[in-house]
Structures are given as C-alpha cells and as structure tokens.
C-alpha cells in the first residue's frame, strides 16, 4: 500500500506540475505554436452574444462551429472580419481588432430584422402619445380636450378614457410628468379659467383628482419625487413652495432664493442663487451642503436662469438650464452650452444620451482608467455620435445601453453603439407626422402612431424574452473602444 500510495502521489504531483502551468498559460491566452516559428504565442479572444441567440458566426469568412453566444479563443493578434447571420435578420458584419491577452467582447449584438414587424394595439386615430414610464401606460391624445385623452394599459392591453368628469371639456394647456412616476398632472383651461388635475395611474382604477386649490398660487416649474407624488414642489420667482396634495396644505416659500431644483429618491436638490447646492430629504430636513464653491458656480451656471436638477445613483447630478445648457457634477462640469432638447441616462452603462436639434451625443461618466495618467483629470467625456441632422426630437437607450433609438422628424432610426467601428444607423419605421414615440426597455417594444391611420402600434426592437444570460459576471462598466465615436 505504501509503495502504491507513493507511486500514485508522485503521479498526481507530476500531473499537477505539468497541468497547472499549462492551464494558467491557456487562461492567460498563451498557446504553443508549432512549426518553424515555434514557441508560446500570446493570443486574444472575441466574445459575441447576440439577440436573438443562436446566430451563425463567420470569422474571416470561415464558419465557426459554435453559434452565438460564443467565445472564439486562441486568436493571434490581428483584425478579424466577423459576420453574423440568422434567417430573417440582416447580416451583421464588422472588423474586430484582437490584441494579445485581451478580450474583444460584444455582449449586446442586436440582429435587426429584414422587415420590421408591427402590431396594432388599438385603433385611433390619435394625434400624439406620451409614455408614462412609471406605470406601464401610454397616454394617447386624439384632440386638445381632456375628453380626447385616453390611457392605454400595456398590461391589460385595453384603452380607457381619462375623464368623464366636469373637467372633460377643458383644453389641456400643459402636461407635467416625472420619469419613474405613475402620476401625470394636467394644466387645463376653459374660458381663461385655469384648473389642475392629477391623474394617478398606479392603481387598477385610474384616478383623476382636481388639485386646483393647492396650485392656486401658480408656478413656473412643477416637480415631484417619483416615489412620492403627494408632495409637489412649485417654483416661481426664485421661491420654492411645497404642496401636500393629500392634505391640501401649502407651505409657501419653503425655500427662498432658489435658482433651480429637482426631486429624486425622497430627496430634494436645491441650487441657491448664491451658487450653493443643497440636498435635503423630501420634508426639507437633514440638509447637506453639496457645493459651496460659489466661484465655480458663477462660472458654470448662467445667472438668473432656472436649472432643472436630476440625480442618478450613485452620484451623478445633471443640471439643465432653461436655455438648454447642460451641467454635470463631473469635470468639465459645463458640458453643453445651449439647445439641449432632451437627455436620457443609462444606469447600466453610466452614459448620458444628449439630444440637440442637429446633434446626438453621448456623455460617458465611466472614467476610462487608461486616461487616468493624463495631466488633466477626466471626469466625463462627450462624443457627438451624430452630426448635422434635421429635427431630431427624441432618443432612447436600447438593449442595456448598447444601441440608440432616435426620432428624426417622422422617421425612427436605430444606431448600433455595440461596435468597434463607427456606429451604424438603420431605418426602423415612419411614424405619424408630429407625434411622439415611446420605447420601453422592459418589453423591448417601440410604441408609435401609424403614419397613415393614427392607430397605436408596437414594434419589437429586440426580443427581450429570448436573450440568453452570458456565462460571466455582469460587467458593470462598458468596454472602452478607443475613439470609435469621434
């Protein structure tokens, strides 16, 4: 037994001493190259994951045995032409650079169908729509009066009238909503009489409440936290009022000398006229001074102009001025000087999508480590991915921040951002003239009004249910692709 044990022990030890370094080398991407130029060669890999999964992969025109998602290993550093094909979908083709010991990963390759298929959800005709992000409902308009406003429930797949009350004949003058909130507030006008109504879409029974009494003082800006729509914050003439809709109480001049404000996650952010930035809880308690650098504030904020404040976890603040200038709490602070129409933050990729009339830009908050050696600190990086376009009105992050869906006039395009090349755009669909669209990342569907009939239609941008989870821990930061957007 002793001899047997020793033989076995030394056999295992020898096997381990051989296997271990070979496995480590393999894991690091080193392979043995036979032939005249034999020796260990540093290799890289390409990782591809597609939606829908199961697509065929061709590497330099040679069919790769495994379908996507796939990891192609042992690639000698070089540029590789990769083509992905799937019946019914447009071929995806790109040149992917492979570097030694590095992985070139495309986690979110979205295969676009050869023909976009849409489905009619409800018949109109409608003139416009608005997605209520916090409630899985879409507000549909067939005219200007409140009685011509409808709610389409995405869950129940049914349409409901907004109002059968005395407010039904009022004309909708303005409409306020907050991302993530299931509440919409209407400013209604009838014979110069102004009323306000709160539509709560959080319950099965949509509730329209007249809240004119609490908003009697009037306002220029109205906001509330997506978590608590009972507390409204109104700004007028540098004064912030706090209104409790449930009790009907108004706390006038809740904060004075206010240049801008925002409400997020039970917190109130206030930019004072002296340039200080304060964060409190939604009751105004527990104040924290976020910035007291008045000199910097004077440089980055336009005096006398109102700023909307948006907070994104964990620590990103975006401030948008009334003249369309965009400021963040990361260097270089003042990012865009004017004409920002809309923006959307991707928590996943830590990137802000910025839309101007003719420009579409991406502000990247994930500070690239490769730039950390630079003499000047880099806090965020802005890249204009589309330039000299006409009438760009809406833009959405699609498929975990890998693609951008945007509306230019009446046309919807999708921009492939998951690429090592310049982003490619594809036409998706034409929508009703002057109408908005709504994209839901939860369902992967685009909701729009048909160009000719005005019916509400949905279109599958990516097949949400079919996406396979990648067998790796979820990446928290996007992969850096050098200057692809320049």
């Amino acid at each position: 037994m002793l001899i047997f044990r020793r033989i076995l022990f030394y056999s295992f030890l020898t096997s381990y001493l051989i296997t271990c370094p070979l496995t480590v080398l393999y894991a690091l991407g080193l392979i043995y190259k036979p032939g005249t130029e034999y020796g260990f060669v540093k290799t890289g890999l390409i990782y591809l994951s597609t939606a829908p999964p199961g697509a065929a992969i061709y590497l330099n025109q040679r069919h790769y045995a495994q379908a996507a998602p796939a990891m192609i290993r042992n690639l000698i550093p070089n540029n590789y032409r990769v083509r992905i094909e799937m019946p019914g979908y447009q071929a995806w083709e790109q040149t992917i650079p492979v570097k030694a010991e590095k992985a070139s990963a495309l986690d979110f390759v979205l295969l676009l169908p050869k023909e976009w298929k849409s489905a009619t959800l409800t018949e109109g005709p409608f003139v416009d729509l608005r997605g209520i992000i916090g409630s899985k409902n879409i507000l549909l308009m067939s005219g200007k009066h409140l009685k011509e406003y409808f709610v389409y429930s995405l869950e129940k797949k049914k349409i409901f009238e907004v109002s059968q009350t005395s407010l039904a004949d009022y004309e909708v003058d303005d409409l306020y909503s907050v991302p993530g909130s299931s509440v919409v507030i209407f400013k209604l006008v009838l014979n110069e009489k102004v009323s306000y109504a709160k539509l709560d879409l959080s319950n099965d029974h949509f509730l329209l409440t007249d809240i004119s009494s609490v908003l009697a003082n009037g306002f220029t800006h109205l906001k509330w936290s997506s978590q608590n729509a009972d507390i409204l914050y109104c700004w007028h003439d540098g004064i912030l009022d706090k209104l409790d809709v449930s009790s009907g109480t108004v706390q006038s001049a809740f904060v004075k000398d206010v240049q801008g404000y925002g409400a997020n996650n039970h917190h109130l952010y206030v930019l004072k006229k002296n340039g200080s930035l304060i964060k409190t809880d939604d009751k105004g308690n527990d104040p924290k001074l976020l910035s007291r650098d008045h000199a910097t504030s004077a440089e980055i904020f336009q005096p006398g102009k109102f700023y909307d404040i948006y907070a994104y976890p964990p620590d990103v603040l975006v401030l948008v001025g009334e003249s369309g200038d965009l400021v963040t709490n990361r260097l270089p602070y003042r990012v865009v000087d004017s004409h920002v129409r809309t923006f959307e933050f991707s928590k996943k990729s830590k990137r802000l999508l910025i839309l101007r009339d003719s420009l579409l830009g991406v502000l990247d908050f994930s500070v690239p480590e490769t730039l950390s050696d630079e003499a000047f600190q880099v806090g965020s990086k802005l890249s204009w991915v589309l330039k000299e376009r006409q009438n760009m009105a809406q833009a959405f992050w699609v498929y975990e921040g890998s693609h951008i869906l945007f509306r230019e006039g009446n046309k919807i395009f999708i921009l492939d951002f998951e690429t090592y090349e310049a982003p490619k755009e594809n036409f998706v669909v034409e929508v009703k003239n002057g109408s908005s669209v709504y994209f839901s990342e939860d369902s992967g569907l685009l909701y729009y009004l048909d160009a000719s009939s005005g019916n509400l239609l949905s279109l599958e941008v990516f097949p949400k249910k079919q996406i396979l989870n990648i067998p790796f821990p979820e990446r928290t930061e996007p992969i850096l692709r050098e200057d692809k957007n320049e």
Partner: protein, 570 residues
C-alpha cells in the same frame, strides 16, 4: 524523550515559542483569506491565476483522496465477514493458523480473495519476525467511557454492543468515568447501567471524577485519566500485569461492531512492537442517522469518509475519537492530557514524543458507530454541530506543543518532524480556508472586475476553467453519495427508497455545510488560539429521539439513592 506535553507552566523561552506556534496557523489562514480578498480587488489577474492554480490543486487532491476512499471502503467491505475471533484463536495456537484461509479456500468472491491475501501477507511477516505472541486468553480489555451528561438511553446501546461482541466479555472490564459535576440523573443512570450489565463482564466499575482537581481543566481527558489512574491501582491490587491490558477509550454513545474487540485483539497480537501503537477503528455516525437533520448527517458522513481516507495512510495516521492502545503505554506516557480538549489526538503525540517517534497508529478495518449531533430543532443542532466542529478544530492546540517538542528532540528524525509538522499545519489551514476560497473568494476577481481586468482573456477564461473543474468534481460527489448510501445501516425504515433519495439529495448542501460548519468553526478555533482565548470542553447534545423504555425508567428509579462514589464492582 521526557517532555511535558502541556501548554502550561512553561519557561520564558518556551512561552515565546508556544505563543509563536499558537499564532502561526491562524495567522496563515487569515493571511491566505485576506490576502486573496485583497488581491481579488487590487490585482485581479494575479488573484485569478492563483485561484486557477488552487482549483486545479483541489481537484487533483480530491481525486487522489477519492481513490483512497474507495480503497479504504473496499478494504472495510472485504473484512466485513471476516471471522476475527478465528484468526485470534489461530494466532494463540488454539486453532490451526491457516483455519481462516482454509475456510475461504476456493471462494471466488473478490472480497474473500483480498481478505485472504492481506491475512496471508500479515502471517508471513509475523512468522518471519519469529516473535512470541501472548495468548489472547491472557489479555484483558479495559473500556473507559467518560460521562458528563449522557443518560441511560445514550449509554445503554454501547454497553449492549460490548456484550454482543464475539470476543469473550469475561475478559473485559468496563469503567464508567462519571463527572462529579454531572446531574443526579446522569449519576443514577451510570449506576443503573452498572447494576444491569455488570454480570456480563469481568468487572464493571463506576468511577466518579472529583470536580476541580488542581492542574486539571474541564476536559474529557481529565475524567478518563482519573479513571485510568484508579484502574492502575486496581490492576496492581488484583495482580494483573499492565502488559496484559488493552485500553479503549470510547465516547458514551459509541456502539462497537460485534467484531471490534476480536479485530483489535488480532491486530494487537500480530503487530510488531504492539505496545508502541494505537489502534484506530473507522468511526461512523449511524446510531441515529435516520432521525438526524440532513446537514448534520452529511457532515458526519464526511467525517467518516475522512477517517476512511486517513486509514489508508498509517504513516501519518493520528488517533481520533474512540481508539485503543496498550494500558502499560498509557501509564508510561502519563495518561491522557488533563488540560487539553483534544485528548484523543494528544495521546498519540504524547506517545510519539515519549518513544522518540517510534510510535504509530494501526488502522482497524472495523467500524464503531456514534450519534450524529441532534439537539432537537435544526437551529439548535446547527449551533451544537458548530461547537462540536470547533472543538475538533481545537486540535490545533497540539501544533505549538508538538513544534516545541520537535525543536527539542534530537532523536526524532527530521523527516518525521517535517512529515507530521507540515501535515498538521496544512490540514488545519486547509480546513479553515479551502471552503471559503472555493465558494466565496474564488469568485471575487470576476465579480469585482474593473475595466482593465474585464477586457482580458483571463476574465473570460477563468469562469470557464472553474466550470470544467467543478463539473469534474461532481464525479467525486457522485462517488461519495453512492458510498454514503452503501454505508447506511441495514435497519428497516419506512419508505427506504424515498429516504435514500432524500439522503443523496442532501449532499447538495455540501458547499454551505463546508463553509458554515466546516471552515468557520476551524477559523474560529484558530483565531481563538491566535489571540490566546483558550477553549474549555463543551459536551455535544446527542439526543435519542425515542422515549426511555418503561423497564429502563424502573431501573433508574430502582438505582436512585443507591449510588456510591469511587471504584466499585463485583
């Protein structure tokens, strides 16, 4: 070598050495865990490479151990039907020495062939030595059973198993070593057991261990030692030479195999330098296996497997739990430690140092069964199991004493010092770290991957390699499950198929069990030793989920008030 096997009353130099070696295992375990954690976050590439190297080492070691587990199991199975008493009689000349071989001649059973082959080779060695063997009839088996809070239901099955042994019980003396601090019920139970079973043995004694004897800690070894000292006087009084006595120290719940004493006697008689050896059976935890909680069952099954593997390596084998040895040797080495919790392993090290490394453990291919920890609710049981495993892991207290002894000894070979020192250190450190590395820290490089690491080939390769290794480990797991089913007792239970399936499924709890009831208690014990927070003995709850028989209650009542302290007997 004369060496005081103790951590107390040391000189200044010894104190420093003692503290250094007390700190070493805990410091090593924490350095490995914290170091890997730090590397996973700050140097993920290095951490991933280390984790891959560790995973490979783990799967190689696991496969290696599984081979020996299978060998050990087959050895155990091969001797299942061996008539050990026939072999004992053969050695003593009362039967033909080849009687056992003749009985199996012609048998084509693989088990019989293996058993006969081993017996034949042992006989060859025995005859080549030409040594004189004492007659088995001259031997006396002393069974010491320390009792702290075990009542009749716990003790009685063990005594019954002694009676049912194939070895003549009139050559056995049983001593119930009862703590003075034990409850009256426990003391009464001991007396009831004595009254009920003394007629079956040469003698049956109850020895009360006085509370708070100077120099003793509240440990099981102190109780057993007190009883053994009493028995030394007893043997002198009865004119029984100590050479004739083989002592077995059993836990109160130990149920021995019917062949245990015959097998022990055979191995005692046939072994060279029999007085410089301990005899280690395979402990299994079958007494209440069907009633115990799943996680406790899996854990104890794991302990049995560990002992099976250890049994294949007598060169490095150390006594564990219930075991046997020459009583003369026990007296020579100064009995069991009266201040250490790990009395079962420390007695081996005491003897090993006393005989300058010329002491060994001989594995016995026979089982003895104990109770799986069961304290009622799963939470209480888990707490009990945790404390029990921490107590086992407290065996690390031997490391500093052993190292001091090794440094002082010039007689023990450097090879033996290295062999045993490294093994003890490595086994305790791996006990505290492996499960945590496998289940938690090994995944951290990928989970906390920054951009730089997540763009490397290694980031994508590491999970794939880990996946392959874990898939390979399922082969070992399946082998273990199959063996665990084979090792179950043959007692009849309701829904046997379903219960066996459930038992197999419970092995899925292994990762959690190994962390919370394996690595953490070991880390706890090592950390306590590192900081000098020394532990005292804590008796595990081992309830029998059955009510005391009416007859037993009557006996207990009958025994009440009749208890006499001190050595008794008939």
């Amino acid at each position: 070598m004369t060496f005081m096997y103790s951590a107390r009353n040391l000189g200044k130099k010894d104190q420093i050495l003692q503290r250094f070696f007390e700190i070493l295992p805990g410091a090593a375990s924490w350095t490995i865990l914290v170091g890997l954690f730090w590397l996973s976050i700050s140097k993920p590439v290095t951490a991933s490479v280390l984790v891959i190297a560790f995973l490979l080492f783990w799967i190689f070691r696991l496969s290696y151990m599984t081979i020996f587990l299978l060998i050990s199991y087959f050895r155990l199975a091969a001797e299942k039907n061996t008539d050990w008493m026939l072999r004992v009689k053969s050695l003593s000349g009362t039967r033909n020495v080849f009687a056992d071989l003749l009985a199996r001649e012609g048998s084509k059973k693989f088990k019989d062939i293996i058993s006969s082959w081993i017996y034949e080779s042992e006989l060859k060695q025995y005859f080549n030595r030409g040594a004189l063997t004492p007659s088995f009839e001259s031997l006396i088996h002393l069974v010491v059973i320390p009792i702290a809070k075990e009542i009749y239901e716990i003790i009685e099955p063990g005594i019954q198993s002694l009676i049912q042994n194939t070895f003549p019980t009139d050559q056995m003396i049983v001593v119930l070593a009862v703590e003075e601090r034990a409850t009256d019920e426990v003391k009464r139970s001991a007396k009831v057991v004595q009254d009920a079973f003394s007629k079956f043995f040469k003698d049956f004694l109850v020895v009360i261990h006085p509370h708070e004897i100077s120099g003793e800690a509240m440990v099981k070894g102190a109780n057993a030692t007190y009883a053994a000292r009493k028995m030394t006087n007893y043997f002198k009084d009865c004119h029984i030479e100590l050479e004739r006595v083989v002592v077995s120290c059993f836990d109160a719940d130990t149920v021995v195999h019917p062949n245990y004493f015959a097998c022990l006697t055979y191995h005692y008689l046939i072994s060279e330098n029999r007085e410089q050896a301990s005899f280690q059976p395979i402990p299994v935890y079958n007494n209440n296996i069907w009633e115990a909680h799943g996680f406790a069952r899996v854990l104890e099954m794991g302990s049995s497997f560990f002992q099976l593997i250890e049994a294949t390596n007598p060169e490095k084998l150390v006594t564990f739990s219930s075991h046997s040895m020459s009583f003369k040797t026990l007296v020579q080495v100064g009995y069991w430690s009266v201040e250490m919790i790990s009395d079962d392993s420390s007695i081996f090290w005491k003897a090993f140092i006393h005989f300058d490394g010329n002491y060994r453990v001989i594995p016995l291919p026979v089982t003895l069964s104990m109770d799986v920890v069961d304290a009622g609710s799963w939470w209480k049981t888990a707490c009990n199991v945790y404390k029990q495993k921490r107590r086992w892991a407290w065996g690390v207290e031997n490391f500093p004493i052993l190292m001091r002894a090794f440094l002082k000894s010039s007689q023990i070979s450097l090879w033996d010092k290295m062999k045993h020192g490294i093994k003890m250190f490595e086994s305790h450190v791996s006990w505290a770290t492996w499960a945590i590395i496998l289940a938690v820290i090994g995944w951290l490089p990928a989970l906390y991957a920054g951009r730089e690491f997540s763009e490397t080939v290694l980031y994508y390769s590491a999970p794939r390699i880990a996946g392959i290794i874990f898939r390979l480990s399922t082969v070992v797991l399946v082998t273990t499950i199959v063996l665990s089913l084979y090792m179950l007792p043959k007692t009849k239970v309701r829904f046997p198929f379903i219960r066996r399936c459930l038992l197999a499924a419970q092995w899925c709890l292994l990762p959690w069990i190994f962390i919370f009831l394996g690595a953490l208690p070991a880390l706890d014990a090592q950390t306590r030793l590192m900081f000098g927070a020394y532990m005292e003995f804590w008796v595990t709850d081992k309830n029998k989920r059955r009510s005391m028989k009416d007859e037993s209650v009557a006996k207990l009542e009958e025994g009440a008030g009749k208890f006499e302290s001190g050595a008794g007997g008939n």
